[in-house]
């Protein structure tokens, strides 16, 4: 019998269906009698809707219905919500405009859904949409967050002055002002953190069904958190009572945050299915995904670091203007506030930090969590500043960091977070060895001799994962506590089902969660089924984002396993006529201590269901336990990424020569899967730093609306990565797990820009480092002279 221990890399259980084309994604599911939905979207960024004429569309072949915001309102379907309340400095709650699933009166970004056409085929729905006549009164638009704050800027929501959703602060203002007053040196940067479009390879999709006999609605959808979708659709949007709504997220083809949110289209499909009395299916095409999936990042920041005469950091002051788009998406308000400013201390001992963030409406797609969600933006600010501070003080960037590292734990930062454990010097030292920093100067000289410019850049990042302790996030404005649930069902034959509130959309939970059960119960992973993603099967859960599945989801499973083991010991004790406290459980065997009497796990599980004469006041039949786990703290993965690159000043082409990542994720369940997560994160980080950029023109048209215009990282854009690990187990959860999903996306962008500015010996560079921009930077002196 093979046990798959924690820390080993069994091959993934889920792979077989994916490599043979037997995956079951939402668009693969079809229902008898299903109709197809196509959303008619606003071509304008800002306009008043004077009228919608559906008559011609309704006469088109195959068109079943054309529904608009009017019908939505008639049926009492509520607007989409933002689930995290943020208060401004003056104590007033954030100002959120209404967000109807189909536009009412006004459209507020190019891509805003105006009507849905439902037809017999997808092509007929699309043809029908062409025939819907919408009379628009086009209004001026604003797409840049800084410009949107201007008194003369057009208003996205008429009732919200200056387009300002909140003007928020965090940290110790007075201490920070004093720190800057006493500083020997102040280093500052103006930063634009470029807007990104998440682009999971599976576009969003929804299949809504309604059973008129039972009144039950079923929604198959591409969600990272189906239970939260059900709760929001039911309690806030009012689609159906919670017990009459089943949400299923089957195989989901990547998410990266963008499939957390409860969107208009999914909402409309389940409502429309009831309204037209047929299953209604919608699958986004990629162009729609570009327009309507929540985007990420888009921060303008001014940041300054105060240093004493020994290059020790005295204080950090940050002012950020965050673009939130035209509506507040589900977690939009938390991303540039509590998920951002709380991480500004990085790995450094900074006595005083003060951050101000203005959240701003613009006529662009909503902006919400994308891989890292606030933490990449924070890390970019502090890691760029630290590198610049090292340069201005004449210190090696490694030495500057070492001088300022936090070295004792727990460490309370001035921005809420209390780091529980870490060893930042260990990951830095290991990364320096792998990157062969000692010989960098020689490599630079070799490049120079070829007419190339070589640079090296560091990023010693920290992340907060495992969102989140309910007490903490509740007091910070979250609408729900972010615990996780698990149920472990042992079958009579000793095989096991685990029902988890986590959701896997590429992370490999079917394997890693099974490893935990295998190592605890001594049964092979093939005898363990991980069940997730169906609100009818799984008890309430919070889903997967922010690397919470290991630290929170698996901790819930561990807790349920504790209960299973305790009960199984009682049953074993009864069967072997011993005291429960004398039973030892190891390698799948229950033994009476000090004897050779033992029972195998399946013998005990069988007895649990078929056993007779249990002392019923002590033992109930069955072997099934559930647990809810509310974490004690966030977890704090950290590490050091180093980028070494070469620039060809004649073409502006940047080549990453070596990318080194050393991460401390605490206890690692499956190193193969964790390495894969790091690879993918780095690729998205390199994407942000070198390739990707979402651009709207001043009229609010998305110029980067397809793979022809938005540069997705391709195989030839990326190097192979060199990884290493250090480990300080997390003391805040029973498994010692910290989380690994976002590390690469957080750490890579500042490492790359630090390397690029080192190579070109320039102060700053705005991402992405496309050849044209790099060529201009490399030839700035020449360009200025001309």
């Amino acid at each position: 019998m093979t046990i798959s221990a924690i820390g080993t890399s069994p091959k993934r259980k889920e792979d077989r269906r994916f490599i043979t084309g037997k995956g079951n994604y939402t668009d693969d599911i079809n229902r008898a009698g299903q109709a197809y939905a196509y959303f008619l979207r606003s071509p304008h960024a800002h306009a008043r809707i004077l009228g919608i004429d559906s008559a011609a569309a309704l006469a088109m072949p195959g068109v079943v219905a054309v529904l608009t915001g009017k019908e939505l309102a008639e049926d009492g379907v509520g607007g989409l919500i933002c689930g995290w309340m943020v208060h401004s400095k003056d104590g007033t709650p954030m100002k959120a405009g209404p967000h109807p699933a189909l536009a009412q009166e006004k459209v507020r970004y190019a891509g805003d859904a105006v009507a849905v056409v439902i037809a017999e085929t997808y092509a007929q729905a699309k043809d029908g949409a062409e025939a819907v006549m919408v009379d628009y009164d086009v209004l001026p638009a604003v797409v840049d967050a800084k410009a949107a704050l201007d008194a003369s800027a057009p208003l996205v929501h008429d009732e919200i002055p200056q387009n300002m959703v909140f003007d928020w602060e965090l940290g110790n203002f007075k201490e920070t002002v004093d720190a800057f007053a006493n500083a020997a040196k102040v280093v500052s940067l103006d930063i634009y953190n470029n807007r990104l479009i998440p682009n999971p390879m599976e576009p969003r999709a929804a299949l809504g069904e309604y059973d008129a006999g039972t009144g039950i609605h079923t929604l198959h959808t591409t969600s990272q958190n189906p239970h939260v979708a059900r709760l929001v659709l039911s309690a806030f949007i009012g689609i159906a009572p919670e017990h009459k709504l089943r949400v299923i997220a089957p195989d989901v083809g990547g998410g990266f945050g963008s499939k957390i949110f409860i969107y208009a289209e999914e909402t409309v499909c389940v409502w429309a299915a009831r309204r037209v009395g047929r299953p209604v299916k919608w699958t986004s095409d990629r162009s729609e995904a570009f327009l309507s999936d929540a985007h990420g990042r888009d921060h303008h920041t001014h940041a300054a670091l105060a240093l004493d005469e020994n290059a020790k950091i005295l204080g950090l002051r940050v002012k950020t203007i965050a673009n939130l788009g035209a509506y507040l998406s589900t977690f939009a308000s938390s991303v540039p506030t509590y998920l951002y400013a709380t991480l500004l201390s990085g790995q450094y001992n900074i006595p005083a930090i003060y951050a101000e963030v203005q959240g701003v409406y613009t006529h662009t797609a909503p902006v919400d969590a994308y891989r890292g969600a606030g933490r990449p933006e924070a890390t970019y600010v502090i890691e760029r500043l630290v590198e610049e501070a090292a340069r201005q003080t004449g210190l090696d960037p490694v030495e500057f960091r070492r001088r300022n590292f936090i070295r004792s734990f727990p460490h309370q930062t001035p921005v809420i977070m209390a780091y529980d454990t870490g060893d930042y010097d260990a990951s830095l030292t290991k990364a320096l060895e792998i990157a062969d920093y000692a010989n960098f100067t020689a490599r630079r000289a070799t490049s120079e001799a070829k007419g190339r410019k070589r640079g090296i850049g560091f990023s010693t990042y920290i992340e907060a994962c495992g969102i989140a302790p309910s007490a903490a996030v509740g007091s910070l404005g979250a609408g729900v506590g972010l615990w996780e649930s698990a149920e472990v069902r042992v079958n009579p034959t000793g095989s096991v089902e685990v029902l988890t509130g986590s959701h896997s959309h590429g992370q490999g939970h079917e394997t890693t969660f099974a490893q935990l059960v295998s190592s605890r119960l001594g049964i092979p992973i093939d005898n363990i089924e991980i069940v997730h993603g169906d609100t009818d099967k799984v008890q309430f859960g919070m889903g997967t984002y922010g690397s919470r599945s290991g630290a929170v989801g698996m901790s819930a499973i561990a807790k349920a396993l504790d209960k299973v083991e305790a009960k199984a010991k009682k049953i074993a004790a009864h069967l072997m006529e011993a005291a429960a406290e004398d039973i030892e459980f190891k390698d799948g065997k229950f033994t009476v201590a000090g004897t050779d009497k033992s029972l195998a796990f399946p013998e005990v599980s069988l007895a649990a269901y078929v056993g007779h004469k249990f002392p019923t006041n002590e033992i109930e039949p069955g072997l099934k336990e559930s647990a809810f786990y509310d974490p004690l703290n966030f977890t704090f993965p950290a590490g050091c990424h180093i980028c070494e690159l070469e620039v060809d000043p004649d073409t502006g082409v940047v080549t990453i020569e070596k990318f080194t990542a050393v991460d401390d994720f605490g206890v690692v369940i499956n190193p193969m899967i964790v390495e894969g997560q790091v690879h993918g994160g780095i690729a998205q980080g390199i994407g942000q730093a070198m390739l990707e950029n979402a651009v709207y023109n001043e009229d609010g048209q998305l110029l980067t609306g397809s793979y022809m215009d938005y540069t997705m990282p391709r195989a030839s854009d990326l190097p192979s990565f060199t990884l290493g690990f250090t480990s300080t187990p997390c003391p805040s959860n029973p498994l010692g797990i910290k989380g690994c999903g976002e590390a690469g996306a957080i750490a890579a962008p500042p490492a790359i820009v630090n390397a690029l500015t080192d190579a070109l010996r320039i102060r700053d560079f705005t991402m992405p480092a496309t050849p044209e921009r790099v060529w201009r930077a490399a030839n700035s002196a020449r360009l200025a002279a001309e």
Binding site: E14, F18, T20, Y25, E202, I673
Partner: protein
Amino acid sequence: MTAVSMTVNGKAVTAEAEPRTLLVQYIREQIRLTGTHVGCDTSQCGACVVHVDGLAVKSCTVLAVQAEGANVLTIEGLASDGKLHAVQEAFREHHGLQCGFCTPGMIMTAVDMIRRHPGGLDEKTIRAELEGNICRCTGYHNIVKAIEAASQAMGQREAAE
């Protein structure tokens, strides 16, 4: 609507298609083989790669009617007699997939790539050859390793035969 006939995974099939129906739509919706995926609408992502008469093509750039009479191989037809193809095995062995959505197209591209490079494949060539396939999960690191390993395994297998 016209009846369009072809051979898919060794089986003769006939189904209705509009003149504008894409081969990928025909395969997914008419033949109900949903392993071939649609990840974009500009023929960039490669999630829809199948083999038509032995050549890897993006089935979103071919009309179903153009494939009349053709011999089409999809991801579902790659394993034979329940035995995985060497490329499928290599993707699993080297963790060359995460969410699995781009995987069928990646594997079909890789099979074709290896066939076109009987002398073997190095990292640089593999990365260049993957130009038409986008993956958002893996950073390509393990996909490249998987294709390299499959290329070697297939070379050795052929040498042994």
